[in-house]
Symmetry: C2
Subunit: 455 residues, 2 copies
């Protein structure tokens, strides 16, 4: 609960941009996945770093939990106010502050979405390539260490955030990183905050690394008779060092979902969706080499989509795949899994997972960013059926065990939130306690996104 006097102090700082309306609370209490509606006590809409700092000072003095919110596209309940408190919606801090063409970096506010940034960059010859599918806010992407379809070529948020402005638990404002391409000046605070899910501070400004728009882009689709050879072809592609810009896997059930949802007519077989970036010559060479590998593994011929609209249609289908999977069953919600394994173990991990799902009562399409060794099973459940949720969670837990047994991680890109917290001990052992020590040192009152990520 936020006492009325505190609410009114916050309202003064925010010049009235704070709400307790049912609509606002419900909008910020929802999750994209299976977590139940969880209402915060209030929602704030700051416009400046100074406001965020003042707001934090008040919440710190009164022990009010504070939860950052970007576009609300996280999948593990990261933005849910499970202990009540104030959700801070950054949608009004969504400006591009500076684009430094010559140094290929940009300074932005956290509420800016990745699509809005790329729109702004269109005429500069530069782009921000990290693409988790959803039009997430860049602040949210940094906080979950997001990645997505292009990480195989351009890296994750870990690699593409150069610096941050952060408001700490007590309202102190700090700056991490610089615009230089490297530094060895002490602890890498930027890397510590990226992926911290709002538990160590609220990001109010970010310096992002940009990349040159490729001279040529070509996308392609191919299919395989079986899941095994499709994944083996990915492994061979990565091991050959082919600089794929995207290499996405969809199993037969995912393809079926996409066809139903997007009106496409892909054959009901496991598919790879790929993209090549480079000079005209490089793209042609990459496509030819990839074609040879696909043939070696018995895959279909593929047509290259070099026209922008065809590529766009393809990636829109891929980006809607999550919604397509959900639409397979009316009223379903999803327990989403996100394991990532060393590339040599990818085929085993995918096949074991497919067999486990097949042997269960759960419908679970499998798809993912296989160039990184990262894939998802979208486990469809009736959100009212505790038995189904329990079974899906058991499948998810076995996937996590499998990831660790293969030398991988329980989450490649979705983060921990509340959904994956039970898996942290198994992945990190004593390292999880170290995370807790860092959390306690930086937020001794435990007001920053309490209940998430750490014990």
């Amino acid at each position: 609960m936020i006492p009325d006097t505190v609410f009114s102090a916050l309202s003064t700082v925010l010049e009235g941009r704070i709400s307790r309306s049912k609509h606002d609370l419900e909008h910020h209490g929802r999750s994209e996945t299976w977590f139940p509606l969880t209402l915060p006590d209030a929602v704030a809409y700051p416009q400046t770093t100074a406001e965020v700092s003042q707001m934090m000072k008040i919440c710190h003095a009164h022990d009010i939990p504070v939860i950052g919110f970007g576009a609300g596209t996280s999948l593990e309940g990261q933005t849910l106010a499970t202990e009540g408190g104030l959700v801070v919606d950054f949608s009004r801090m969504d400006r591009v502050l500076r684009i430094n063409d010559a140094d290929m970096d940009a300074v932005v506010q956290p509420g800016l979405t990745r699509e809005a940034l790329n729109l702004e960059l269109r005429t500069t010859g530069l782009m921000f390539p990290v693409d988790p599918g959803a039009n997430a806010s860049l602040g949210g992407m940094a906080m979950t260490r997001a990645s997505g379809t292009t990480a195989v070529r351009y890296g994750t948020m870990r690699d593409n955030v150069l610096g941050l402005e952060v408001v700490l638990a007590d309202g102190t404002v700090i700056h991490t990183g610089t615009r230089a391409r490297k530094s060895s000046a002490g602890y890498d605070l930027t890397a510590l905050f990226v992926g911290s899910e709002g538990t160590l501070g609220l990001v109010t400004e970010m310096t992002l690394r940009l990349h040159g728009q490729p001279e040529a882009i070509s996308a392609a689709v191919c299919s395989f008779a079986e899941l095994g050879p499709a994944v083996e072809a990915v492994i061979a592609t990565i091991q050959a060092g082919l600089p794929m810009a995207r290499i996405e896997f969809l199993d037969t059930r995912s393809v079926e979902a996409v066809n139903l949802y997007s009106g496409s007519h892909f054959p009901l077989r496991p598919h790879l969706f790929v993209e090549f970036h480079g000079s005209e010559a490089a793209v042609a060479e990459q496509a030819a080499l990839f074609g040879e590998i696909v043939r070696d593994f018995g895959g279909s011929d593929f047509d290259r989509a070099t026209k922008a609209e065809d590529r766009s249609a393809l990636w829109t289908m891929r980006h809607h795949a999550y919604w397509a999977c959900l639409a397979l069953r009316k009223g379903a919600k999803a327990v989403v899994t996100d394991i990532c394994v060393p590339i040599s173990r990818l085929a085993a991990a995918v096949e074991e997972t497919a067999a486990d799902i097949a042997a269960s009562s759960i419908d679970g399409p499998i798809l993912g960013h296989v160039g990184d060794g990262n894939f998802h099973a979208i486990l469809l459940v009736d959100p009212e059926d505790a038995g189904e949720i329990a079974e899906a969670k058991r499948l998810a837990a076995r996937m996590a065990d499998r990831a660790l047994a293969h030398g991988g991680t329980v989450t490649g890109e979705h983060g921990i939130g509340i959904g994956k917290k039970p898996l942290m001990e198994a992945e990190h052992g004593g390292g999880w306690a170290v995370m807790g020590q860092i959390k306690a040192a930086l937020d001794p009152k435990n007001i920053l996104n309490p209940g998430k990520l750490v014990r």
Copy 2:
């Protein structure tokens, strides 16, 4: 001081591999740069993680400072026992534990040097490219977040350490990271420990990312009439997106030093030493494009050294440049600077620095990894002359101010140790206090490399 009873308990754990001999203390009390001899109380030579853990428990119980030591090539006094205590020399933990060809990673012990690892990798088609010049230990490189000549292409230790085994202050052993290529499972502890200079834990095992040996390698040297156009050529090269494997700048005084030291006959003009990696065709294309840029800036034609022995001779000269500079003045030691700025500010930063040195009484060749915006002035001083040291430090402080004014960092790759500690507040402001909080949380007794990096 280490009490005799504690020494003898440590000796039991280490089966006698602990020494207080003058030779051992002096060897571990020396610095590569201007810091005075600083003797530890004892030197330990552990062979296993279990020994390191047992040793830490004893030191923790008795408040004995513990300082990690690899090859002793750090430049900011990182390994000096400024508060006494035990130096832990990792030279007997120098094995390659596993090479995973298919996943392009290797698990190694921290005392292994980068050259020894690459020797081991020779026949695998893989390499570990991070190259700070000195044959440093990989543990030491991780702890200073080292980089060097190849970072422009392959990244720094930040990008090439996938995971760590760390012994904490109380002897607890934790594991960070996985063998997967990405993860969003909580705080990035690997990134926190990389660059922590032994102040948060002792690394006992590391998982490193490997890269494919390029099909073709070609090196080249070119010179310019003036410093300005040489640096402008670098900026144009980076902004053109040319994937240089190395691009090194040497000013006229550095070239003079190299000629005197290595018997070479480079013209006394500012030089660029470069290297291209890729397929035969790609290397030829890169060299041609680079040649055009060099001509645009009035540089000399260059001969490509495609033969391995010619390249090797070239990079040996570059790697010996620090010693070559020291040899310019008999008995001199160096105050080494290491600023790194956004590439668009590189020419200004180098020219301002050159002018500042020229106006001083100090001899200071300038050279560096300019593709990253990183360069060094080697400020030569008589180690007995406090006035000279003070003047060199004033020059270094002005370089640091300049780096920050240009949006850069006071140290691109050498780290903080004791030498750059006075610059931390200016670079990080409140962020330095956050580093101190993390240090206090993980090492409340302040026994891990006390006096370094944090306040």
